[in-house]
Symmetry: C2
Subunit: 202 residues, 2 copies
């Protein structure tokens, strides 16, 4: 199974690909496949840049074998009134990724930056360097290999998807994972259970 | 020449098509071709709705003859922090329209709601009913024919595009129209010139 993490952006769109062997235990380690940054130049019009990125996404997804189970995990940034143009471009790139994914019948997952940071570092407000270090450790990478920070972000998104259990179940039971928890969330719940051991009426 | 006005939206995407005969004077009247609203249901996932809309846009653009000169005019709404989800869906639909347009080599134009209202009614803060009335008069329509308000908005966007002169020039000189003015803008400039007739150093 392949998990494609995407850190969307019009100028720089990070893509991180990891693989998980199917039918194994949840404790297996995800393997690094590749990471890259799809770029477009501001020399072109906004619409032409979107088309160029759409072509690059098409080529990216076209490289996977047709029988491969692929999940696409997209980081959903927070949009504020202070970054309307960047937000619009990012949202449009997300839209293109979603449409291309569904055209190939790939499952699509969304994660917030905070969910991604919590999942890989245990801290929802982790700095970029902490994310780079965590991704490097989790994937057994030398942190000097992959320079573009966007690629590390994208790998972190893919790892978040596997941490939340999407890779460890069959396609038929995948819907049950809508409310899957991150490791940090489970730790919080366990901690709360330790404090209060009274039986709870459901 | 065909002008396709688009009022983007994930649930309801208005499309208004008008035609202009080529090689005629700027005073010729645009003709109504058709207006419709492309819809998607919230029963589906966000990504599947985007794909459905992408298919509908593909079918729409596929209906034009290959030799036809087509300009796609898109309304660019203002995004605030109060409508982040709606804004994201709208931005994504805009992105799909842009990519589909450029795949067919159609020129893309963007107009703000205020530009559209000013262009068809002379008032940038006109109400929806004023826009409906103005579009009906400009296209010689009985206002009872086209019920969906989104379709009237989309026709207004297409009319804005023709009002700004995109339809009255050859494709080779179309780049000069980047700074084309609306009728209201010209009226303001003429009014200012009337007040101050002194020569201006450039």
């Amino acid at each position: 199974m392949i998990v494609v993490g995407v850190d969307p952006g019009l100028t720089r769109c990070g893509v991180g690909v990891i693989s998980l062997e199917e039918n194994t235990t949840p404790s297996r380690a995800p393997k690094f496949v590749r990471a890259q940054v799809l770029t477009t130049s501001p020399r072109f019009t906004h619409e032409d840049r979107l088309m160029q990125l759409d072509d690059k996404l098409c080529a990216l997804f076209g490289a996977f074998r047709s029988h491969e189970q692929v999940v696409v995990a997209i980081e959903r940034p927070f949009f504020t009134k202070h970054n309307p143009n960047t937000a619009m471009g990012t949202a449009q790139v997300m839209g293109l990724v979603m449409v291309q994914s569904r055209r190939k019948s790939y499952r699509v997952e969304h994660f917030t930056p905070s969910q991604v940071k919590t999942s890989v570092t245990g801290n929802g407000r982790a700095h970029k360097q902490q994310v780079v270090n965590a991704v490097s450790i989790l994937l057994g990478l030398n942190s000097g290999i992959l320079a573009p920070p966007d690629a590390f972000d994208a790998l972190a998104v893919a790892l978040t998807c596997t941490n939340r259990g999407v890779g460890v179940v069959s396609a038929t039971s995948i819907n049950k994972l809508e409310n899957a928890e991150t490791r940090a969330q489970r730790m919080w719940k366990d901690a709360v259970r330790g404090v209060s051991n009274k039986p709870v009426r459901m």
